[in-house]
């Protein structure tokens, strides 16, 4: 199955792109995806805990199982206002 990952703010700067498309095996959880990104992005590897994550524009927990077509984002600390 295929999912889309969006990168924002400092995470986009660290990845160097604002989006990635990725093939995942069935049953992949949000936290599995974060762990695999940690092998590619040095900034991500430095996080002790997974940052807030969203699937299809809603906050989700790391246990959420990803589905084909999902839009996933890991969110740097928000700073609106």
């Amino acid at each position: 199955m295929q999912i889309r990952i969006l990168h924002f703010a400092s995470f986009r700067d660290a990845v160097g792109r604002d989006a990635d498309v990725r093939e995942l095996s069935e049953g992949t959880r949000v936290r599995d995806l974060w762990a695999s990104l940690g092998h590619e992005v040095p900034l991500f590897a430095r996080f002790r805990a997974m940052p807030p994550a969203a699937v299809n524009r809603e906050y989700v927990s790391g246990e959420t199982v990803l589905q084909d077509g999902d839009e996933v984002a890991f969110l740097p600390p928000v700073a609106g206002g």
Partner: protein
């Protein structure tokens, strides 16, 4: 109306048209300052995960409508590059009495700052910039 705007926030239009039962209006404006955490600032770039920010502000509005049933709430957040003195966010709470207007307005801005996926990059007089991380204080 969408919650995000790339144009200057039209505060006057946000204040228009109270319901006849409204006796109180509380407006909060966030404004770009000339310094943050002791460092001078020349401007701020606001970036949003737009579609999710809209969803999240709608969720905040829905929750506050339950907590403050008499309050009418209006919110708008600006994105893009802002100069010192420009408004980055506006919240208007209208209600029959002032206590709920103040409380709902304060709750709205507190939640916007906590959960809406918006980020800001501060620019400094020496040309440098950095993403603000409110968790590192």
């Amino acid at each position: 109306m969408s919650y995000l705007t790339s144009s200057p926030i039209d505060v006057a239009s946000l204040l228009l048209e109270a319901r006849d039962s409204d006796g109180a209006l509380c407006l909060f404006l966030g404004v770009v300052r000339n310094e943050n955490e002791g460092r001078p600032t020349t401007g701020i770039q606001y970036e949003a995960y737009g579609s999710m920010a809209e969803t999240e502000m709608e969720r905040i509005a829905r929750l506050l409508a339950t907590e403050f049933p008499d309050v009418e709430l209006r919110m708008q957040h600006r994105v893009g590059r802002l100069s010192v003195g420009e408004a980055s966010v506006a919240v208007v709470a209208l209600s029959p009495h002032r206590s709920e207007a103040f409380a709902a307005c304060r709750a709205a801005i507190d939640r916007i700052k906590t959960t809406v996926p918006i980020w800001k990059k501060e620019f400094h007089p020496d040309g440098s910039s950095h993403w603000v991380d409110p968790t590192k204080k």
